[in-house]
Subunit: 458 residues, 2 copies
């Protein structure tokens, strides 16, 4: 459907708290795409609600009229989650940007869905606390909860599902519900909180979250270790995990990624497979864990091991890591970035990464491999012309090979990017027995089928 | 319904893998009660399946005949979960007692539902690993997952929901499903795993679990601190949490509990409010955290502070803590133990415990207060004659007062014992907006309404 002038007037009349409707061309374009290669599709209108009440009113109208509603945050999704494939309303939640309450003694904060992770982290740091989940982009917390985002610190703190204690959300019938509580744990009823986290806007629109905060660590150090080959780097990562060494980040960059990073950031990292390992805590604990890590990387033949204790140098090194995605983009301006996202049991990592490298080479792709190896999650990243059928076909083949390999190893098709548009067939491959159940759950939460249609469910 | 001889023969014919049907009086009695005060009710038959296939066959028959199926593990539930209030089949899963796979490098194990936590922990320790969740009783892991059990180590490692990576479960229509994966994290599809954890056998019968294991800590120490009053003990606990001190256990016993423990265990603990604090990790880290804890408890007027580093002495002290439930029972032989289970945001703990003590005194109950205070979860424990209406009425009044107080403080009616029979009205008080959703989910997973009827849903 498209919006007639009268329908727009109807929408505007619902926004009693200062929200607005936007149909400016540039905003329709911006809300029709994300960071993925999936074809853009403009929404019919962008609605920026200013309150939960307005979100509910918009959803009530959409349910009545059968109009799709696609939640939109920072627009940094990697799997097309925010693309309104069936048109309708792009529900931009970025005006819900208030930190409602920060409770340092409870190590929790309650925020509106449009608050970004950096905004919350900055507020937390004024109390000696942090919000550690870092998917790279400065995503909104509502969006991060919707995809169960994680990142470099997940090995230590867990991803979004572990952080979210409570939600306010609007269901597909416009009912506003509150799940969970502010208590650190609960055994009260079915866990709707965990069900909505990772549901990618298909079951409800998240409007408010209560999340855990964590104390800022007293001290830290970063180890940068270069290995003779990627298998040795992976084996070292496996041993760090199996040895129970308390690390805060444990990241792999292969030689391809390091070269891209050097070129983009002007860094001078050794262009061999690298592990970047961050260790934080009380000073003595950091020293002990550092010694354990040094032993392990040495055992696996790391030749070039640098230990950084200076905070500014560490931050610069981690900025380099976080810029890796942009470094990849800079290798082929005009193309779009593409990233696989499988996650395997950690012991399977060396074999899985070897298999991935073989698949990349067999397909003739120019790609790097890196990732959150302590969680068994890695990304093959490369650039792609979405208009080049051959390139798209090779990317699809790579996806399929890697997903099949991950599933055969007891892993999953998505470690952190979610299903969105692009992985629906893989979800069916991973959980064929659950798909009918998913459909029934969708029917319970979104009886009119208006919430983010065309996502998650195959 | 009751089972005719022909129905029993039908049941037995389904058990092709060596399972059995039991109708011996003693077994019907044992399967008709748990540790709670809820009235016992015998099942019509006890079925002990020997395989998932047999579980599915029994559920298929029950669905066809409309017979209730109530999963049973160790029978140590505290809220009547395993009592077959509508008769039918008690499905005893204790013969599913095999550890199917233990993967030390992945820090995971896959077990059948009837494996107990101590059985898994002992197997894990042969690899330098542990399974830390400890609800007190040596419960089965299926049962612990079903109630999202937690315990003294939850402040450090999280409760069951955080441990469970994957499940095999049989739905109410006899379909066998597999949720999750063996990967450490996933963003693939709706989180059915977390939904089934804590669903108390009302959505599915858990037959197999993949859980996280954790490295055994290198060293440890235990602090025992006696406080002038319970408010000071609570305030110290709040400061330990807010200060980000890494503790593995942080338990409160009030003077009443300490007296019970001394009498039961022959211990000679100071009969004042005590905090027991366990700190584990690398030696230097333990030292640093010990120093931080010593400072905090000193600031709150702890006079009698004992530091134990000897492992045997520490184990004995923690055994004393774990015996507290039995110590309470020994205060009134012949009566049944009763325990409240609210959980509040940690900063609310001193006020919540003060309010609980006032309620206990106003009702004239002879009760102790203790709990997992770093999580904000505490129990008022006392003995009760279930046949004495006055006593039961006072216990109910206490429950209601405490739940209302917890909810007003942003907490929950159940920190770890679950809803079962006894807290259904409180669940409705806590999540009135979610109850219709719960009912619909129940309909999706258990369309014939045979799985553990009379539990969770009000």
């Amino acid at each position: 459907m498209t919006f007639a002038a009268s329908a727009l007037a109807d929408l505007e009349s619902l926004l009693v708290d200062g929200g607005s409707v936007v149909v400016a061309e540039s905003e329709l374009v911006r809300h029709g795409e994300d960071f993925s290669i999936h074809p853009a599709r403009r929404p019919d209108a962008v609605v920026l609600p200013a309150s939960t009440r307005e979100v509910a009113a918009v959803i009530a109208l959409a349910a009545r009229e059968g109009v799709p509603v696609v939640p939109f945050g920072a627009g940094t999704s990697l799997e097309g989650h925010v693309i309104p494939v069936a048109g309708g309303i792009s529900l931009d939640l970025t005006r819900l940007d208030r930190i409602l309450e920060l409770r340092p003694s409870d190590l929790t904060a309650t925020v509106q869905a449009g608050v970004t992770r950096r905004q919350l982290d900055a507020a937390a740091r004024r109390h000696g606390l942090q919000f550690p989940v870092d998917p790279g982009a400065d995503a909104t917390l509502g969006g991060m909860a919707a995809t169960n985002a994680s990142g470099t610190t997940t090995v230590r703190y867990g991803g979004m599902r572990r952080q979210v204690l409570a939600l306010e959300a609007v269901l597909g019938d416009a009912q506003v519900v509150r799940t969970g509580s502010r208590a650190a744990k609960s055994s009260a009823g079915y866990d709707i909180t965990s069900l909505l986290v990772g549901s990618e806007g298909t079951l409800a629109v998240i409007t408010e979250l209560t999340v855990r905060l964590h104390p800022v660590e007293e001290s830290g150090a970063t180890v940068r270790a270069a290995f003779p080959d990627i298998a040795a780097a992976c084996a070292a990562a496996v041993d760090v995990v199996a040895g129970g060494v308390l690390v805060t980040r444990l990241e792999l960059l292969d030689a391809w990624n390091v070269a891209a990073v050097n070129s983009y950031s002007g860094a001078a990292l050794p262009e061999r497979p690298l592990l970047l390992i961050d260790i934080t805590g009380a000073p003595a604990a950091v020293d002990e864990n550092l010694a354990a890590v040094a032993d392990i990387v040495g055992d696996h033949g790391a030749a070039d091991v640098v230990l950084e204790r200076d905070d500014a140098t560490r931050r610069a090194l981690w900025r380099t890591r976080h810029d890796a995605a942009y470094a990849v983009m800079a290798t082929a301006p005009g193309k779009k970035p593409r990233s696989t996202d499988i996650c395997v049991p950690v012991s399977e990592l060396p074999a899985a990464i070897t298999a991935a490298r073989e698949a990349v080479d067999a397909l003739g792709l120019d790609a790097g491999i890196g990732g959150h190896v302590a969680d068994g999650n890695f990304h093959v990243a490369f650039m792609l012309d979405p208009g080049d059928e051959g390139e798209v076909d090779r990317a699809r083949k790579l996806d399929g090979l890697l997903v099949d390999d991950a599933l055969a190893r007891g892993g999953t098709c998505s470690g952190e990017h979610g299903i969105g548009i692009g992985k629906r067939a893989y979800l069916a491959r991973e959980h064929p027995d659950l798909i009918p159940l998913y459909r029934k759950l969708k029917g319970v939460f979104d009886p009119h089928g208006i919430l983010n249609p065309g996502k998650v469910l195959p």
